[in-house]
Symmetry: C2
Subunit: 534 residues, 2 copies
């Protein structure tokens, strides 16, 4: 659990706190990196100390002050964790080829400052007590002048985009109704281990260890062709498929290739915030489509568009499935208006009742649908494996761009995933997920009907979340904030809308990560907050 906790700390938090983790390793490293293996007595790792002090040569401050500043910085930022042994003043003087007296003076001052301590007949150590509070600001190394003004140099500030935010430590909350995160108990551990092991056979390593330039693992491509895509009604040649670092990467690549300033792109509203962000970042002008409000309103709203981005299988965030007749009508419109359709086949595998509706791409006779798929939602989001299916010309250019951007998604994971599909494990996994998620969905539906009867939502037929609408006076963001304080995580809906209103009564309730037995108590707790908020 300790580790679990570490993993989800934000990096900003890591930077602010000291790194206590693995402090022992750091300490032994400062003495002698090899001692754990050779058993030799710890000695000062000269190269490391020399490297630490290489920072200084251009300063004009007295040597003793420079020394002290470097040590203070190293202690404060955790490079020298509490209790680290320092070299003796004689050793450090020798390493740095400076006078021993200079080192001794610096050490004495640091002892006075309560930063290090001398242990008799042993040597100098950084203090084991927590230092963060005890330091006066003027002990810190002076800020360097002449740094670039980064706010002027960074021309695009992606951090300013509106985005879904969820606490990094979501799994420490008792009721995490978060979306898009995995439940570790559902991960196919034994099967993935077997495939990872097989991908580490000598011949397999020979395949994936090379730079594949713009290529992919042929096994994974072939398995997608034969196992995954046919279920969506898609028959693709290998020159129509490319692997990506997750589905989002697929969309980013397509935007780089196809979206320029002034490109008119139609989006769902509410819709996937990152799609909106990616298209806008590439200069697209967005037009919201009336699609999700039931069928196609009129062809006129498509006439000026260059492309549309859609999530027909389980619409993000509503989880509704586009009907077959709507799909056919949409393709007709696309043909007549020469529209490109980007189909993000969101959670297409997770259908609780009967067969999935075939993908838009499967009905596309003019190769204008570009299909995005993912293995992240079923296998593990952390693996980042997605794919694009499109006309060969598009894939050809996408490969050239991907080559320039990052060459290829890691080839060892491609091979392991290929084997996972080949052995039929993905089919089994999908069946298991459907079983688990559909029973969670039933419990959630029941709980919502019981505790939040004045709230509305569409009946769930698949996916891993419910889109809930509260009374019009509900501010779902306030509700989410209040809920977070009592251990319940829901996702306020405003971020999914292209132009958010002042108050948004919608929120998303995910059930891919929360255990079944926590669902009812979580919704009950959520319901207890409502009175004060509507």
């Amino acid at each position: 659990m300790q580790h679990d906790h570490i993993q989800v700390l934000s990096l900003a938090a890591l930077a602010q706190t000291r790194i206590h983790i693995h402090a022992i390793i750091i300490q032994s490293w400062w003495r002698s990196p090899g001692n754990s293996m050779t058993g030799e007595a710890p000695k000062v790792n000269e190269a490391l100390w020399r490297a630490l002090f290489r920072l200084a040569p251009r300063s004009e401050a007295p040597l003793q002050l420079q020394l002290r500043r470097i040590l203070v910085a190293a202690i404060l930022d955790g490079r020298l964790p509490p209790g680290s042994a320092l070299p003796s003043s004689r050793d450090l003087a020798k390493i740095l080829t400076i006078s021993r007296n200079t080192v001794a003076l610096a050490y004495r001052q640091l002892i006075d400052d309560d930063l290090i301590e001398a242990r008799e007949r042993i040597g100098y150590f950084t203090r084991t007590s927590d230092l963060a509070g005890s330091l006066a600001v003027n002990t810190l190394p002076s800020p360097q002048s002449g740094c670039p003004v980064w706010s002027e140099r960074i021309i695009k500030r992606y951090s300013q985009q509106r985005n879904i935010r969820k606490p990094r430590n979501w799994h420490e909350y008792p009721y995490p109704f978060v979306y898009g995160q995995s439940d570790p108990t559902l991960f196919p551990l034994a099967e993935w281990r077997e495939c990872s092991r097989a991908a580490l056979a000598v011949l397999a390593v020979r395949d994936w260890s090379s730079d594949m330039i713009d290529g992919d693992d042929p096994l994974l491509i072939e398995q997608l062709q034969q196992r995954i895509l046919p279920r969506r009604g898609i028959w693709a040649n290998s020159n129509q498929i490319m692997i990506t670092v997750g589905a989002q990467h697929a969309l980013y690549l397509l935007a780089e290739l196809l979206v320029g300033t002034g490109c008119l792109a139609g989006i769902e509203d509410p819709g996937y915030p990152d799609a909106r962000n990616i298209l806008e970042a590439h200069g697209a002008q967005l037009r919201t489509l009336s699609l999700p409000c039931g069928g196609l309103a009129s062809e006129s709203e498509f006439m000026e568009l260059d492309m549309v981005y859609l999530t027909p299988s389980h619409q993000c965030p509503t989880s509704s499935t586009m009907e077959f007749t709507t799909r056919e009508a949409l393709l007709g419109i696309a043909d007549r208006n020469d529209l490109i359709i980007i189909e993000d086949d969101y959670e297409s595998e997770l259908n609780f009742y009967g067969q999935a509706t075939p993908a838009l791409k499967s009905l596309d006779r003019s190769d204008r649908v570009i299909y995005i798929g993912s293995l992240s939602k079923t296998l593990a989001p952390g693996l980042r494996l997605g794919y694009i299916v499109a006309a060969p010309e598009v894939i050809f250019e996408a490969r050239a761009l991907r080559r320039l951007m990052l060459r290829h998604p890691p080839a060892n994971n491609q091979r392991a995933a290929g084997l996972f599909l080949q052995l039929g494990y993905h089919d089994t996994l999908v069946r298991r997920l459907i079983g688990t998620f559909s029973s969670r969905a039933a419990i959630l539906t029941e709980a919502l009907n019981t505790h939040l009867s004045e709230f509305s939502f569409s009946p769930v037929n698949g996916g891993s979340s419910l889109w809930v609408k509260g009374p019009v006076t509900l501010d779902a963001r306030r509700l989410a904030n209040a809920a977070e304080r009592v251990g319940v995580l829901i996702e306020p809906g405003d971020v999914f809308f292209h132009v958010p209103g002042a108050v948004c009564p919608y929120f998303r309730v995910g059930f891919s990560s929360i255990p079944a037995e926590r669902i009812e108590p979580g919704i009950r707790r959520l319901a207890s907050l409502i009175d004060g908020l509507i």
Copy 2:
């Protein structure tokens, strides 16, 4: 070895040829996907056949013709490999809910066309003979009309950039003096297996299976801080480091953040083609620096620049190392002119003699150096692991961009690499690579001096390649082409120059992939071609 071969076939080649690999799997899949596990008798996989024929509904051609077109396409593109069993006409008619007569008619025509055969009392099968040559073009499905004109829709054509090209099947050549590819015999198989296994422990999987949003594995960050960066003289906090999908991805991200139209960027000439391509793709105007020709020519060439991209450790492609005094002078110039420096710390670990020169970043007092490192060159290019070290403001925005682009590099590989560093295996690996590469370099030097004594090159002190200059009349591209025909792969140098001359006498000779005993025979064979070419 068969697999080996498959891995390196280009995707274009795969698409043109039939996929013979795993044909048996495909065949059994068409019958019954579960039979290998359950042992049940093969039966027709209805869903797959139905999905295959879903393509057709919008066509107005006679049903029988539609059926035939789909089957022909599936046979030709390898979805139905030679010898595949087809459903009986009765079964297929039932699956598609069409008349049995229609199917029978279609099958009969396909038999006449020599595409399928009827085996008495067994059923219909695709022909086992090679079909590619025997088909008249008019048997092919007619091309669909109304497709988007992709050449007009794709706004950026990255495939047109000048780039290093090497045959995908480079390891089938007897003398592969290619650069940047790994030698599978040097991969630390046992150690990497151990780390992969450890990364598959239950608690570890819990860490990496989640979507880390904009985060990285804290263990890998920490190990870079403590094991890798200090050797380069760099002490970084965790908010100054971000993991990337290889070093090239790092540069791409930085270009997205920092390079806009008209940005003036200084580059080395000759230099790394992909750096040039990435900067140009983001709108930079490139200025070649006179740097590599010995020291700093003058400060004036830097005065107008916004940034410079440099490979100080082992310059690409010359492998020369920038001297310490040059580094200090350069940082002074950067400070005075408020330049951003992107330092690509190319192969910094591979030094044959003594300690590496500290990175530019280690001497940087004003946080204007952005450092790019990689684990690909030592561990395996196919793993795609790189990192950026920069000011916290830069890393903060780089994380927001990376989140939008692909979230994070696969987290399981981050964990395995973190463990690999933590266990000290990377140190051992680097020592082994240095030993192997330095002896290969010595053999190569000897061979060049013996067989190509009129050619010149700088003495090699590290890295994994030599930059060779032939007589001025030599066209290295012609030499490389001639050499390839006799099994010797070298890399012609023109692509490394910003403005290539008509004839370029330079070429690069890599030694990271060629076994020691092949070096001398390979150079001898190369030398035998020279007479006709100068």
